[in-house]
Symmetry: C2
Subunit: 227 residues, 2 copies
């Protein structure tokens, strides 16, 4: 019962756990039923039912109207799913020549179908990568996520020169837009200014030197570290 592999969970359960974990990866506030419903594309009643079932299996703790928290077992499954997702994305880009903005949806489906053996073989073939094409850390086979530091571009002080560490892969259309602009993990840029009430952040990128204006959703999706 303790050693149940993640592949024994239903795809729906895998999605729930991964989403709960992902929600707390970059912000501390616990996720809510309605946010989960919106992200999963289902109704809140469906999520409410699902959470109750996960609680019955000991994968989350949840009292009615209370907060949703992963148990240790639930977290282990969630991290295993995140590892699958990020290794798949890396594999699709590095081995099959996908663009880094095209891999999210494909990985979303495949992560429910691949075996642990296949994941291990991809990991080996890729040389045990630690970051996926969006810059997100790939948890190890032992389940330890290697958290990189970083802040959202929207919170970076004006005047600083920074490197992009990660770009949220939640919105493929936004990723395509970033690609057009030449913004990708490891791109360096200087934060020129934040214009508060317009919610616009201006950055300067080199080669070719240019200024780019980013709205709030864009500058929240990009995470940077000082260089």
């Amino acid at each position: 019962m303790d050693v149940m592999p993640v592949s024994d969970l239903s795809p729906a359960a895998q999605d729930y756990l991964k989403l709960i974990w992902s929600a707390t990866e970059w912000s501390p506030a616990p996720i809510t039923v309605s946010v989960m419903a919106e992200r999963l594309g289902v109704r809140p009643s469906t999520v409410s039912d699902g959470i109750k079932k996960l609680a019955g299996q000991g994968l989350v703790t949840h009292a009615p109207y209370g907060s949703i928290e992963l148990t240790d077992a639930g977290r282990a499954h969630a991290v295993a799913m995140v590892r699958r997702h990020r290794l798949l994305e890396t594999f699709l880009v590095d081995v099959l020549g996908y663009g880094w903005d095209e891999v999210h949806d494909e990985a979303e489906v495949l992560e429910h179908a691949v075996s642990d053996t296949l994941i291990d073989r991809m990991d080996r073939k890729l040389g045990h990568p630690t970051r996926d094409p969006h810059g997100d850390p790939i948890p190890g086979a032992d389940g330890r996520p290697s958290m990189p530091k970083g802040t959202q571009l929207s919170a970076a002080a004006a005047g600083n020169t920074v490197a992009i560490t990660r770009i949220s892969d939640a919105d493929p259309q936004m990723l395509r837009y970033f690609t057009e602009l030449g913004l990708a993990p490891d791109t360096r840029l200087t934060v020129t200014e934040h214009r508060p009430y317009a919610d616009v952040t201006t950055v300067r990128v080199h080669e070719p030197e240019r200024d780019i204006d980013l709205g709030a959703s864009a500058s929240d999706a990009i995470w940077v570290v000082a260089v």
Copy 2:
């Protein structure tokens, strides 16, 4: 309705169609409900229901107690699934270093999850292969299966020297046994004798030169051509 991609079918429907097609790939007799049930690991009643639904969708023709035949639309979907399966097997062996006897079950799951885009990229990466690791022909993207000639080893005349064209991938354990014996697609051998009532076929293989006795199930699983 006509251009529905194979990915719109349920996994169960995909399995049914592929099995019906596969059953007639190497023998002309139409498949029966009970054989399908046994191969799919479900009860005959389940298959009977499923066939009825496929008939309703115009993918097979079937009157109660009558024979089961693919329509053109059903055949197109079936061939698309076979293409997926065989390309996946080839990819797992050639790119990820799987043994040719380990890939069947993995492909069986993945074939329901991969997108057409992924299949095309794998096909390109592999250089548009025409045979899978077991020697089975890989249908083209246009759906035309390239049928190779060949007969079952059990039916090959004694004294002939032949090359293995294909080995049925139905039984992974048998494949592992063949690997131990050094029997694989393209292996050459000479049929020494058939002993009819013992149902044993003896063959001689070179490098290292040795004689191998094969029972009926084994010599039915191996297909050969004269060289």
